[in-house]
């Protein structure tokens, strides 16, 4: 995937990766690389860290990439779920989220449907909530 930010940058999701859900991004010249977090519950993309401290393009570049990534988050979620649905999934299990009536409850399972871009949370008490970011 290509996203604007200091020119066009490459954005990808790694297989065998770990939580939180995130993409890696890098410039075309291969000088710097960073990570941007996203969620299966909302459309926020936030700068996580620069992995090349010796060649850091600055937070302005990563913030621009984060802003431009928002329109691609559905694809990011789908790719993350394709690669990690059988392992870490949405990284929401055991987190605390609001249920359908606004009560904070522990999530026992989270399942993403790429076709509808909907995440279904199943809480510890068995209640479910479907969320469309």
């Amino acid at each position: 995937m290509q996203v604007a930010g200091a020119g066009l940058v490459s954005v990808w999701v790694n297989s065998r990766d770990h939580c939180d859900p995130h993409v890696h991004c890098a410039d075309k010249a291969g000088k710097w690389e960073g990570r941007i977090r996203f969620s299966f519950l909302n459309n926020l993309a936030t700068f996580w860290d620069c992995l090349t401290p010796g060649a850091d393009p600055g937070s302005g570049v990563f913030n621009e990439i984060s802003r431009n990534l928002v329109q691609h988050l559905r694809r990011c979620r789908a790719e993350w779920w394709r690669l990690h649905g059988g392992t870490v999934g949405c990284c929401l299990a055991n987190s605390t989220q609001h249920d359908a009536v606004g009560q904070l409850r522990r999530v026992s399972q989270a399942v993403y449907d790429a076709a509808t871009d909907v995440t279904e949370l199943t809480f510890a008490n068995g209640f479910k909530r479907r969320m469309n970011p």
């Binding site: 490459s10 990808w12 999701v13 790694n14 297989s15 065998r16 990766d17 770990h18 890696h24 890098a26 410039d27 291969g30 000088k31 710097w32 690389e33 992995l51 090349t52 401290p53 060649a55």
Partner: protein, 124 residues
């Protein structure tokens, strides 16, 4: 090398363990380079201080690729990703190493190397 107390289960390596370990050894870069050896169909993953040879068959992401394509494997700027850009393949290097080291542990192979790695992680 110390041995586990009786009844203790050996801890499994996690991606964070390996990332911390290799990052320290390599001055921050997870992996320096990756090479494919066609004659043995193995992938060499090289960090600053050691290299691991991994049978290509162990790496699901690389199955079915031609030897010519395999020669295009490279490492991302930060050394975190093993990638084959034309084929849209991106593998977290720490995740691959942890999967392979845990595979060696399960197969009870690679004893001295694993003991060295675990000793360093415990000391870190």
């Amino acid at each position: 090398m110390s041995s586990l107390p009786s009844g203790a289960a050996p801890a499994a390596l996690t991606a964070d363990d390996v990332e911390r370990l290799v990052g320290k050894l390599a001055g921050g870069r997870m992996v320096e380079q990756v090479l494919y050896f066609e004659d043995r169909d193995v992938v060499a993953v090289q960090s600053a201080h050691f290299a691991v040879l991994i049978d290509r068959g162990f790496i699901d992401e690389l199955r079915g690729l031609s030897p010519k394509k395999m020669k295009d494997l490279k490492v991302s700027a930060a050394g975190t990703t093993i990638e084959l850009e034309g084929s849209d393949i991106h593998i977290e290097a720490a995740g691959l190493l942890v999967d392979y080291l845990n595979h060696l542990r399960a197969a009870r192979a690679g004893g001295p190397m694993l003991e060295l790695l675990e000793g360093r992680i415990a000391a870190g």
